[in-house]
Amino acid sequence: MSAMRTYLISDSVLFRKTKEEFGGLSNMAPGFSLHVNEVIIPTAEHLYQALRFPDHPKVQWDIINEKSPMRAKWIGRANIKHTRSDWDKIQFKVMQWVLEVKLSQNWHSFSSLLNKTSGKNIVEVTPKPKVWGAVIEGNYCTGVNALGRLLMHMRETYVIPNKRMYCVSPLDFEKFNLLGFPIGVVCDENDSTVSTTPEREFVFA
């Protein structure tokens, strides 16, 4: 796992709750729905949770059809024993892919939000040390901040240079499935094939 990071709060955009100014950066934020395998998925959190269970389409369906992202997460937890065996190794890559889909399919709203963070660190504040975020310690935030780092990568790779992705290529894993079907190239409604994700550079190898 990647090293811890320490961020000066005054140099950072912090987000905790979805209703805050930068709440849209949260995976649980409404208003950034996704569309994979012909299904509308309410939030990035729903999609991330569902991808733990490629052998259990029914669990995936229950997660996707749960309105609340928090409850979708709970469904994931309740089915933790069905998690794909290599999940610990691939979860960061899966999250990166989910965020690429979120950005591609919500380009206007999500890229403008990421643009507003320009020049700042992005940090998801968590009350306890967790790999996805960082905790506040005085004037600093400390933690792995995996989500924030992925978001900064998206910002620098796609948003700042204004490289809009119309299509996102799938991850090269076995059983990268949703609802019984393999996930192929995921395109937005404009369905242009000219601009897929370039050679993907993973933030967390």
Partner: protein, 350 residues
């Protein structure tokens, strides 16, 4: 055989076009084209028709009123007339399409049942915009008309879209038959059109009958024609291969384990047999045409970008056979000897 054909005619009793009567001779003439499968096709078609997939004019009249009454109840009005005083009926389709005919009928039925004419509806407000149609299949027509309506501005520059988002107006699509996948398409395309997730939750769909055709949906009953990939003929596989479309090939065939329980066809085996017969015959018919339209498929038209075999709608009305139904039901083109079960006034128009 005549008995089965007669039973089919009893259900489809008011589908007549020009000098072609929908009688037993007509049905038998159509079914003969399936050669050794003739009897089976008739038996299975009768089984399907018995499940209410044909809407006669009399039934349509009842359904139209029932659906309006249900909406009044849903939106908690004391009675239907109170509700109708806040309803604007949209007339957006061309005159020869189903919508105009349905509105004409509705006008007569509302007058009879509730003593109110269409022209008097919406007299208090136009809070509810009601878009009536017979079949929502791929959702393309509804999306286009809904978008057109949402973009309309009033004299103050406020669009219907603004009013819908602010919940001052509600757009309702009310039809006899909707396809679950088509509804998804409408919602997702609207999100893109308006760059706003919220619009997806603001459009309401009402239907007397739902075709559960979403390929990935859990528990979908697949009450449409959706063949499996096993044992398909070379002609079918070549048809798919040669399509210019490149999206969603993975959805071309049904997962053999679905639906979990057969509730539409007379048995799992009969479903496979029926689907394969109409698929192969459909491919044969389309292969007889020099150049196909991009959305043309053996099991009925679909979105042209989909590398699939067609929508497979099994639903018919006395005045319209959707072009999303398998072509064996309605195919009639110059140079083809195929005799359609449902003769159309004009496929290009309907």
């Amino acid at each position: 055989m005549k008995k089965i054909a007669a039973s089919i005619c009893e259900i489809v009793h008011d589908y007549h076009r020009g000098n072609v009567k929908f009688d037993t001779d007509h049905v038998i003439k159509w079914s003969k084209q399936f050669q050794e499968d003739q009897q089976f096709i008739l038996e299975e078609l009768l089984h399907l028709l018995k499940q209410g997939v044909y809407i006669s004019e009399a039934k349509a009249r009842k359904l139209l009123i029932r659906q309006i009454d249900k909406l009044a109840e849903h939106f908690k009005y004391k009675n239907t007339v109170d509700f109708l005083k806040h309803v604007e009926f949209l007339s957006m389709q061309k005159k020869y399409k189903s919508q105009s005919a349905l509105l004409e009928i509705l006008d007569e039925e509302l007058s009879e049942a509730h003593g109110i004419r269409l022209k008097d509806c919406g007299s208090k407000s136009k809070k509810y915009a009601l878009y009536i149609d017979d079949v929502l299949a791929t959702g393309g027509t509804v999306f286009n008309d809904c978008t057109k309506w949402l973009e309309v501005k009033n004299e103050n520059g406020v669009t219907n879209y603004d009013k819908v988002i602010n919940e001052e107006k509600i757009f309702i699509v009310s039809c006899f038959c909707k396809h679950s996948w088509g509804c998804y398409n409408v919602k997702w395309r609207l999100k893109y059109q308006f760059n706003n997730d919220a619009i997806m939750g603001r459009i309401k769909f009402q239907a007397a009958y739902t075709i559960q055709n979403h390929p990935t949906g859990d528990g979908q009953i697949f009450n449409h024609a959706y063949p499996i990939s096993q044992d398909q003929s070379k002609a079918v596989l070549d048809f798919i291969k040669n399509l210019k479309a490149d999206r969603d090939e993975k959805f071309a065939f049904r997962n053999i384990n679905l639906p979990k329980k057969e509730e539409f066809f007379s048995s799992k085996a009969n479903r496979i047999r029926f689907e394969n017969i109409i698929l192969n015959k459909g491919v044969e018919l389309l292969n007889g045409v020099n150049e196909l339209e991009e959305n043309q498929r053996p099991l009925g038209m679909t979105n042209p970008t989909r590398k699939t075999l067609g929508t497979g709608t099994i639903f018919f009305t006395w005045r319209n056979i959707s072009n999303t139904t398998p072509v064996v039901f309605w195919w009639e083109v110059q140079g083809s000897n195929w005799y359609p079960l449902f003769k159309l006034d004009n496929r290009g128009i309907y």
